[in-house]
Symmetry: C2
Subunit: 199 residues, 2 copies
Amino acid sequence: MSPISPELQRVIDLLAKLPGLGPRSARRVALYLVKRKDTALRPLARALEEAAGAIRTCTTCGNLDTRDPCTVCADNRRDPATICVVEEVGDLWALERAGVFKGRYHVLGGTLSALEGVGPGDLNIASLIERAKPDDVQEVILAVDATVDGQATAHYLSDQLAGAGVTITHLAHGVPVGGELDYLDEGTLAAALKARRSY
Amino acid sequence: MSPISPELQRVIDLLAKLPGLGPRSARRVALYLVKRKDTALRPLARALEEAAGAIRTCTTCGNLDTRDPCTVCADNRRDPATICVVEEVGDLWALERAGVFKGRYHVLGGTLSALEGVGPGDLNIASLIERAKPDDVQEVILAVDATVDGQATAHYLSDQLAGAGVTITHLAHGVPVGGELDYLDEGTLAAALKARRSY
C-alpha cells in the first residue's frame, strides 16, 4: 500500500503532467508545498484560482490578459500598422522583454504540423488574414521559431498573405549575441555569412 | 510595461520558488496551465486546496497523512519494535517504494546543520528518544543521507540513544545496484571493499 494519501497523490499526479516536471520532481514539489501550507501551498492554490477566473484570451490577437482587447491591443501608442506573428504567448513575452517592438502582435497558438495533425483551421490564421488588410496594416512580421514546423507555418502564411498587399518579413538569421562561432551549427553560420553586413 | 498581467505574474512568482523551477520554467508552466484552465489549472488549484485542508503531520512519527496517527503508525501488521529514522517524508516514501521494510518510521524533519543553524531542538529528536524505550523498541535504524550533515546527525542520535538499551544500526554503504565501478567515488569503493561479503 502506498504511504502517500490520495489527496497528496492527486497533487503529485497533476504536478507530474506539467512541462519540465516528472514523477520525481512532482513528489519533491508536493512535499515542499505541504510542508509550507500557509506560505506556499494555499497562496499558490489561491493565485491559480484567481488566474483561472481573471485571465482570458484576447479575441483580437490571442494574447492572454485580464482584459479583452488585451493591454497590448488596447495601447494606442503601439503602431497598429505592424503585426508581429508569434507561435505562442510565451514568444510574445520574450519579444516584449527585448523591448524593441512597438507594434501589435498576433498569437497563432502553435504551428502547422502534419505529424501532430495540426491544420490551418486549428490555428488563429483566419483572424490574422482578417486583420492584415492593407488599409490598416503595412507589415506582417512572421516571428516563428526557426524549426521545421515553424518555417513550414511561415511559408504557408506568406502564401496566404501574398495577395493582401502587405509587406511580409521574417526575423534575421545569424549568430546569437554572445554566441561563440565554434558552438554554432553549419546552417546558422551559413545564414550569418550570407546575410553579412558592412560596418 | 510587462505584458504579463499581475494575476499571472503572481502565479509565475509562486511557481518560480518551487524546488527545481526557475523563472523561465515557471513561465512555461504558468502558460501551460492558463491554456488548459479546465483540464489542468482548476483541477490543480482544487487539489492543492484539498490537500491543504486534509493533510496533517502525524504526531507520532512526523509522516504526512490525512489521519493522525498516520496509516503507517496505525497499521498493526507493522512491527512496532523497529523504528527507521529518516530525514524527510520523501525518504519514507522512497523506502516504502523499496517495499522491504515492515517496521515503523520516525521523520526528523531535516538534519543538524551548524552552518544553517539547525540544532537538536529544531528536529523531532525529543519525540524519537521518547519512543525508543527498550520495552517497546528493539532496534532503531538511522536511515539518514550519507552526507556530512546526515552523518553528523546520525552520530548525535546514536550518542543520545546509547543509554536507551536499543540496538542502533545504519544502512549499509556499498556499490548501488546497477552501478558501474568506474563511475563511483573512492569513498564508496573503499566502503564496499571493506564491507565485502562471501558468496
